[in-house]
C-alpha cells in the first residue's frame, strides 16, 4: 500500500513537470518561432518573368499561367554538370489540343535557354526527361506553349553544391 502511494506520488510529480515544460514551450518557444514562420512566405516563388527575362521574347507579352506543367528536379544537386530533370505537361496531346513547344530555361546560366523542344500531337504524353547543366544554385523554369497559343509554366529552385563552370568568369 505504501509502495503504491509512492508510485502515485512519483507520477504526479512527472505530470507537474510536464505541465511546466508545456508552459515553457508554449510561453517561451512559440513567440520565438512565430516571427520566423511569419517571415517565411507560403511557397513563395518569384514570378517566372522575373526569374527568366528571356521569357518575354518567347511569349511576346502573352501571360504565362503557373499550372499544368510539372517540373521534377532534385532540390539539392551535388554536381551542376549533370542534373536530371523531368518535365511533364497535362495535355491530351490530340490534334486539337497539344503541346507544340516546351522551353527549359535557367535563371543564372550564361545562356538562359537550356533547350527548346518541339512536340507533335502523336506524342501521346507530353513529357521529357533529360540532364542539364546548372551554373550555381538557381531557379529552373519550364514553359509549355499549347496549340491554342497559351503559355503554361512552372519553376523549381535547385541548390547546386558544385557548379558547372559555364562562365569563364567563374573559373578564376
Amino acid at each position: 500500500m505504501n509502495n503504491r502511494n509512492n508510485h502515485t506520488d512519483r507520477y504526479d510529480g512527472n505530470a507537474a513537470r510536464r505541465r511546466v515544460l508545456k508552459g515553457v514551450a508554449g510561453g517561451v518557444l512559440l513567440p520565438m518561432v512565430m516571427p520566423v514562420l511569419a517571415q517565411l512566405p507560403p511557397t513563395a516563388r518569384p514570378p517566372l518573368l522575373e526569374l527568366v527575362p528571356v521569357l518575354k521574347d518567347i511569349t511576346r507579352g502573352a501571360p504565362v499561367r503557373e499550372s499544368r506543367v510539372k517540373l521534377e528536379i532534385p532540390h539539392l544537386a551535388e554536381n551542376g554538370h549533370l542534373v536530371p530533370l523531368t518535365v511533364s505537361v497535362e495535355s491530351p496531346m490530340t490534334a486539337a489540343d497539344h503541346v507544340t513547344t516546351l522551353y527549359l530555361l535557367s535563371e543564372k546560366n550564361p545562356r538562359p535557354i537550356i533547350a527548346k523542344i518541339s512536340m507533335a500531337p502523336g506524342a501521346g504524353r507530353a513529357a521529357l526527361t533529360t540532364r542539364i547543366r546548372l551554373a550555381g544554385a538557381q531557379h529552373v523554369v519550364a514553359v509549355a506553349q499549347m496549340s491554342d497559343g497559351s503559355f503554361w509554366g512552372a519553376s523549381a529552385d535547385v541548390i547546386v553544391t558544385e557548379t558547372a563552370c559555364l562562365d569563364a568568369s567563374e573559373i578564376t
Binding site: R111, I114, S118
Partner: protein, 107 residues
C-alpha cells in the same frame, strides 16, 4: 564521330504510348572553357535533333550549352504503324549523326 544509343521497344500494340530514349556521345562544349594553352574551346553542341516516326516529325530538340555532356533524352510517342523510329542530328561543327530502330506494331 557521334555514337548514340537508342532504346525503342521492338514490339508494341497499336495506340500504345511508348517510351523512346536516346543518349548521344558528345562533349556539348559550352564555349566558355579554355584548353591547356589558354585558348577558348569553341562552342560545339548538338543544336538540332529530330526524331521521325515513319517519316513524320514527332520530336525536335534544339539544345544549347545548358544540356549536359552526352545528352540524354527520354520522351513518348504513340505506336501507330510498324516501321522505323529515326533520329538525325547535327552539331555546331556541322557533324551529322543518325540512328534508327525498327518497331513492330500489332493490332
Amino acid at each position: 564521330m557521334s555514337v548514340a544509343r537508342i532504346l525503342v521497344p521492338s514490339q508494341a500494340k497499336r495506340g500504345e504510348v511508348i517510351e523512346i530514349r536516346i543518349a548521344i556521345q558528345h562533349p556539348m562544349e559550352t564555349g566558355f572553357r579554355m584548353d591547356n594553352n589558354g585558348r577558348a574551346i569553341p562552342k560545339n553542341t548538338i543544336s538540332n535533333l529530330v526524331c521521325r516516326y515513319n517519316g513524320v516529325d514527332v520530336f525536335r530538340a534544339e539544345m544549347g550549352s545548358g544540356i549536359a555532356a552526352n545528352p540524354y533524352l527520354q520522351f513518348y510517342i504513340v505506336a501507330q504503324e510498324s516501321g522505323n523510329v529515326e533520329f538525325a542530328w547535327v552539331d555546331d561543327a556541322g557533324e551529322k549523326g543518325s540512328a534508327s530502330s525498327a518497331i513492330q506494331v500489332t493490332a
